[in-house]
């Protein structure tokens, strides 16, 4: 089966500003694919090109086997989207919005059912301007699903939401995928990407720095494990630096931080216990996607494309 989204060599310039220099990736059917990167890295431009909302300057794009540039109208009927910086008329009510979009793009579940499913039944007669941030996001996701799309694009859906609302939104994304849609998720939140995405691409300055599952990215770009514990400052710990794969030891008062590779926690623990030191708070910090991301994007020598 062909990939739902195929992008190769995408390039887009606004005047002399290069928004996307060279982006390539594929999204397989049924997965949640993340586009992760700092502001201005070209994520939004990329998904706008995918939906035919902008025209790429160069590169090959296929979305659901359609060319977004020449078959935009056909494509937009098959793609549901929650766009960054988009809105509805202030005085449009929730029920009216769903009914309108259901009429414009028919084919999905009855709009009253979506109203229930996305917890908007009580807001049915509330004007868009009076909705909370979380309610707006739920409405946008419901609108994105009104045509029963095969691909759903979610751009920064949790920006501006409080932590509780973000968690609700995450459940919504999983629910969208469980309905059988493929999801492209644009985000700059690491925890969101790590939790939701099956695979992701890290973008910086309009180029893809790395692609893969969160675990693959972490393994490839952040192999350092960090072990921390407390020990009285006057205790001699110099023997730790002789352990295999230990690279760095830092002591700050009674706080000790050991950095290195391999089974670091087991080796440090063994060495400490052998000398009668048994710190109660000995713990390893496992590298997260955020660590991998920072080591990727914080590279002092980024491939200068801008």
């Amino acid at each position: 089966m062909a990939a739902v989204v195929e992008v190769s060599g995408l390039r887009k310039q606004y005047g002399r500003t290069v928004a996307v220099a060279d982006v390539s990736f594929e999204v397989e059917a049924g997965e949640i694919f993340g586009l992760l990167g700092p502001n201005g890295s070209g994520k939004t431009t990329t998904v706008e090109c995918l939906q035919g909302l902008r025209r790429a300057d160069a590169g090959r794009l296929r979305v659901l086997r359609l060319d977004p540039a020449s078959e935009a109208m056909k494509l937009r009927r098959l793609v549901g989207s929650q766009l960054q910086d988009s809105a509805l008329p202030d005085r449009l009510r929730v029920g009216e919005a769903l009914e309108l979009f259901a009429t414009i793009s028919p084919g999905g579940p009855p709009w009253r059912q979506l109203l229930q499913e996305w917890g908007l039944a009580d807001q049915r007669d509330t004007a868009f301007a009076n909705l909370s941030g979380g309610q707006r996001q739920r409405l946008f996701v419901a609108l994105a699903l009104v045509s029963n799309p095969r691909l759903v694009v979610l751009d920064e859906m949790t920006t501006g939401l409080d932590p509780a609302a973000r968690r609700v939104a995450w459940d919504l994304v999983s629910a969208v995928r469980d309905r059988g849609a493929t999801v492209v998720l644009v985000t700059h939140f690491m925890d969101e990407a790590q939790r939701l995405c099956d695979r992701l691409a890290v973008l910086s300055r309009g180029s893809v720095l790395a692609k893969g599952t969160a675990a693959e990215l972490i393994a490839a770009h952040q192999s350092e494990t960090v072990v921390r514990f407390t020990a009285p400052p006057d205790v001699d710990l110099s023997y730790l630096s002789a352990l295999a794969d230990v690279r760095h030891i830092e002591r700050d008062g009674d706080q000790t931080t050991v950095r290195g590779g391999g089974p670091l926690l087991a080796r440090v623990a063994h060495a400490l216990v052998e000398r009668g030191i048994e710190p109660a708070d000995l713990a390893a910090h496992t590298p997260t996607l955020e660590d991998a991301y920072l080591s990727l994007t914080g590279d002092p020598n980024p491939d200068g494309t801008s």
Partner: protein, 249 residues
């Protein structure tokens, strides 16, 4: 077609929920007509108002002004606001053709203008003894042409102006220009030369003239007809051009 119908219905509801525009388009012309009638009465004066009773002169002027106000005051603010807030993007992403959106806005504008025109005519005729149109068909055709032309001008302004605030500013400016120089205020005959010549460039002057011919039974004013048709054609062409340019970004 179904999308256009649904969109028009929604836009109509949204328009009615905007009290300020309703006030400007539907109520203000009635108040102005009331004031003018109180000032000038209904006795014709051969030196001004083309020799017509003032109420007959002003009724056609205000019916034309209703169409113009609906077009340049309400529509551009809505459309420019849509682009500013991202409503346009939202609709585009859902495969709504820009033409559908423009069509819905223009349909609502023409409808509102028609309501305003009917209210004005009823008040003029029933309360102030204005003459009924001699040529109903001509007046209706002339009015619809005028309303569509101003709606098209409004759509063009809505797509050209960057923000709702800019659209509102320009709309109010045009409204007063139309009011003062379009024949809805002082009659052209008493205006100084320069202003009288300027009023020849104001679309409402021609729209009022276009209605006045069939209304009083003197037939079509060809200059006025040409002016309004040109306004319509140029507005539609420029709007289409602007939309194509938007679509290529």
């Amino acid at each position: 077609m179904r999308a256009l119908r649904a969109m028009t219905w929604v836009e109509l509801k949204l328009f009615v929920r905007e009290p300020l525009t309703v006030l400007f388009v539907l109520v203000l012309p009635l108040v102005m007509l009331y004031v003018l009638n109180g000032v000038f009465g209904s006795q014709p004066d051969p030196s001004v108002w083309e020799g017509l009773p003032p109420i007959d002169f002003y009724t056609s002027a205000y019916v034309a002004l209703a169409a113009a106000t609906a077009g340049v005051l309400a529509l551009p603010v809505h459309l420019a606001g849509y682009r500013e807030q991202g409503v346009l993007r939202r609709f585009r992403a859902s495969a709504v053709r820009p033409a559908t959106l423009v069509g819905a806005h223009m349909a609502v504008t023409v409808l509102i203008a028609t309501v305003g025109a009917v209210l004005l005519t009823i008040m003029s005729v029933a309360v102030y003894d204005a003459a009924l149109p001699q040529d109903w068909g001509g007046v209706i055709a002339g009015f619809l042409l005028t309303a569509v032309a101003f709606a098209a001008l409004g759509a063009l302004l809505g797509f050209l102006l960057p923000t709702a605030r800019a659209a509102q500013g320009l709309g109010v400016l045009l409204f007063f220009l139309f009011l003062m120089l379009g024949g809805a205020g002082p009659p052209t005959e008493v205006l100084p030369d320069a202003l009288a010549r300027t009023s020849e460039l104001v679309p409402v002057t021609h729209a009022a003239e276009l209605l006045r011919g069939p209304w009083t039974g003197t037939g079509w004013d060809e200059t006025a007809l040409l002016f309004i048709v040109t306004l319509l054609a140029v507005s539609v062409a420029l709007t289409a051009w602007q939309l194509r340019r938007d679509g290529r970004t």
